[in-house]
Amino acid sequence: MNGESSDKLFYDAVRAEASGDLEKAIEIYSNISQETHSANLHANLANLFFKMRDYARSILHFRKAIWIEPGNRDYRANLSLALEMSGIHPQDLPETDPAFSPRNQTFWLIGLSIFVWSGLLLFAYFFPLRMGKATRLWAAGIWITGTFFLCRGFVLSHTESTCLNREVIALHPSAQPDKFTDGISLRVFAGDGSAANTHVPAGSSLFLDLDAKGFPRIHQSQSGEKWFLARSYSGSNKGWIKRDEFDPVLDLGF
């Protein structure tokens, strides 16, 4: 799907929405989002899900829209509204210091790299010159402090990035939330017959557990269903969840 056809489909969806056919508009937007993304696409989709009272999917798509356009206040305000409607408390959400946001990983790493190498190059270049002991100590102190600060920035930002890559939004399997009242079950064992360890409201952020190789821990049942081990941000709720009961905030490639 190229940009031109995506544009055309987008306009088709806008027309469908204008004519009151919300289901068709959602279908078209969803089809586009399988191939490509834009902030307006996800925001429109989130808005439609909100109108359809599927607040969990609305949260998911507002999160995607905010990831693409972090500075948009409308998206944030609407996300808060959707969270409120889902009954999700703000303390259940991951908090991120904007300075250490995953987007700033590159900044921290490049800054660290330039700082470390500049120090080493200056040291190598000026080594033969006679410098006072105090000067040397000051220079070394500044270099070590700066390196530590930048290193910490990168590590925090990288950790946030890893966390975001594991983050999924709990959803009801079908877009008819009225049928489900108990929220999403996190099961003790990876199977439909297993008792629920706990329940989380649809729209909650969950984090997939990773195995030693860095891939999500997956269990495939005999019927072919894939189960993932997930836990809440605080770690208090943990259990197995089916693939159709969540969607990742970012493209995870699995």
Partner: protein
């Protein structure tokens, strides 16, 4: 026995000839067969090489009025003549006369087995065509005319002229004689002529048993839109090709396999190119006089209407404004009308749709659907949409406009959230949340293909930067290590000590101490600069010799000499120039020593 010998004898003779066992005298003959023909016929120029079966090398001389076929047919043969084995090699050229008269092929040389042989001259007499030839030529012409009438294209255009950019409904028809065994139409008609553009040809209309030229045809017609692209007079014609079944008679004297048998037999398939006659059409430029400002290239006989799908909406709700242009005209090249709705509305790009003759796109209705978003509340008016076109029949421009639409735009809808009761907030008083909902965006914005966090550790640019920095670092370290010479370092350290000593002596007004330190520094610096190992043993004359040998300027050498003299006198002769002068001597020494590197 005879049958066996007749079957195997030529093979044996050929085998013997190839081994060189049969090798007689080589003799060459040349002749036309027949030597006299009429101008409508062909003859054969035959060269016979007796006594060899090797292929000769040479070229037949060109004779004006005769055309020789190339390459020639060759024939090798072997036989017993009166009990003597004989071999020969024949070359045959088909010769076509271009005019009547007597023609002589002069004698020419032929290379054979590294020897040169003469081909004798030959004469050909070409007579005027006889009655039979003329009958045959007439028959051939008739056959060619029949062939043209058997399958042909007919192109029709409603007018002998078009305006540039105008689209007219044109038609091209393929006539196939019912007795022509056509298996399929290999290629639909294609346009020959660069001054025009045309719409794609769709499925043809088929008509059976159409009478023309006293023959019965099946006719396949394609309707299409023809648009004038370049002003001026241009030829236009059409080519097509069909596959027909022909009988396997390759020796047809007329190379026209279709008419030897009325039913054409059941042989192979051959392609047959079918062409239309060329038509000269004029493409006129559009007149500049009285051209409206909003004319965008629409040509035809058109009308426009517009409609809104809603007349009451809220701010930000998209509505559809549909403009329909109908009639006959160049719909394929017709741009959307220009909408200027002011700052009260945001207009998205239009969606196009055409209803009508999809083949020619010349007659029907073109719909432009705009998504219009009101940006402010109130009773707004969507102004009339104006549109201009050129009528090629009346040769005049016309301007049309639609009616204005009134639209009531309410303020943005407010959404009141239902009460949410959770266990923790059950005791709290119910709260009503009032907030404007996010409005639907009618533009998609910038597309991105992947939603993912950046991973700079997997970036090639990052690792390239590391490699560059590492390279620079290693380079500097290597340079420093290479530049580091322990002996030189010791000497430089000594020099720094001497400089400190001189400064101390200067501070304490120790004249001899200053001079001694300066002299030792000069020795040391010259030793370093001139790469002399034992600097402490250098005398003044040796220092001067070293400086001269190293190519230092006379001024520096002279100044060093002066300084050494002052130092020697101070140390050995006990003469002193006073404490006031040692400062200037020290500064002079510093300045000169900087020049010696």
């Amino acid at each position: 026995m005879n049958r066996i010998s007749s079957r195997f004898l030529p093979a044996i003779l050929l085998w013997m000839a190839s081994l060189g066992m049969i090798h007689g005298e080589i003799r060459i003959e040349a002749a036309f067969d027949p030597p006299t023909i009429t101008s409508a016929n062909t003859t054969t120029y035959k060269i016979i090489v007796h006594g060899s079966q090797q292929g000769p090398i040479g070229s037949v001389p060109s004779v004006e009025g005769l055309t020789f076929s190339s390459p020639p047919r060759t024939l090798r043969s072997a036989s017993f003549i009166n009990g003597v084995p004989s071999i020969r090699f024949e070359l045959s050229f088909t010769v076509t006369p271009e005019k009547q008269g007597s023609f002589i092929v002069p004698s020419w040389n032929l290379q054979l087995e590294d020897n040169s042989y003469i081909v004798p001259s030959t004469r050909l007499q070409v007579l005027p065509p006889n009655q039979r030839d003329m009958l045959r030529q007439a028959e051939l012409r008739q056959q060619q005319a029949d062939l043209r009438e058997a399958a042909f294209l007919e192109f029709s255009c409603p007018r002998p002229y078009l305006y540039k950019g105008e689209t007219v409904a044109a038609k091209v028809s393929l006539f196939l004689w019912n007795r022509l065994p056509v298996t399929r139409i290999e290629q639909v008609p294609t346009k020959i002529g660069s001054g025009f553009s045309m719409t794609e040809l769709g499925q043809p209309e088929e008509q059976r048993d159409v009478r023309k030229f006293n023959k019965t045809y099946s006719v396949y017609s394609w309707n299409f839109g023809l648009t004038g692209a370049l002003a001026g007079k241009h030829n236009i014609s059409f080519d097509s090709s069909i596959r027909v079944r022909v009988k396997n008679n390759r020796n047809s004297p007329f190379s026209n396999p279709f008419f030897n048998d009325p039913f054409f037999g059941f042989g192979r398939e051959e392609g047959l190119k079918v062409s239309s006659e060329s038509l000269n059409l004029e493409i006129r430029p559009l007149p500049m006089a009285n051209r409206p400002n909003n004319f965008q290239g629409a040509i035809g006989n058109l009308s426009i209407v517009s409609s809104l799908d809603m007349n009451r909406v809220s701010v930000g709700d998209p509505i559809r404004l549909t403009c329909e242009i109908s009639g006959t005209g160049n719909f394929a090249a017709m741009p959307a009308p220009d909408l200027s709705l002011g700052e009260s509305f945001k207009v998205g790009p239009p969606a196009f749709s055409f209803e009508g003759n999809q083949n020619s796109k010349q007659e029907g209705a073109q719909t432009f659907e705009f998504i219009v978003t009101p940006l402010q509340a109130g009773l707004l008016e969507i102004p009339p949409v104006s549109f201009s076109y050129f009528d090629p029949e009346k040769e005049k421009y016309f301007s049309l406009s639609t009616s204005a639409h009134r639209l009531r735009v309410d303020p943005g809808e407010e959404w009141i959230a239902p009460e949410i009761s959770t266990p923790s907030t059950a005791t709290e008083s119910p709260k009503k949340t009032v907030q404007n909902l996010f409005q639907t965006e009618s533009e998609p914005g910038k597309w991105i293909h992947v939603l993912a966090t950046p991973d700079p550790l997997k970036s090639n640019a990052f690792w390239t930067m590391q490699i560059i920095f590492s390279g620079i670092f290693i380079g500097i370290v290597l340079f420093r290590l290479k530049a580091r010479n322990p002996r030189l370092e010791v000497r430089k350290q000594k020099e720094r000590l001497l400089e400190a000593k001189a400064r101390d002596a200067l501070k304490h007004k120790d004249v001899s101490g200053v001079h001694q330190a300066i002299r030792r520094r000069i020795r040391l610096r010259v030793g370093i600069a001139c790469d002399h190992s034992n600097t402490s043993a250098l005398s003044s004359s040796e220092i001067i010799t070293l400086l001269n040998a190293s190519g230092y300027s006379d001024t520096i050498v002279h100044e060093i000499l002066e300084l050494l003299k002052v130092c020697d006198e101070s140390e050995y002769a006990g003469t002193s120039n006073g404490s006031s002068n040692i400062e200037s001597t020290f500064q002079r020494a510093q300045a000169i020593l900087k020049k010696i590197k």
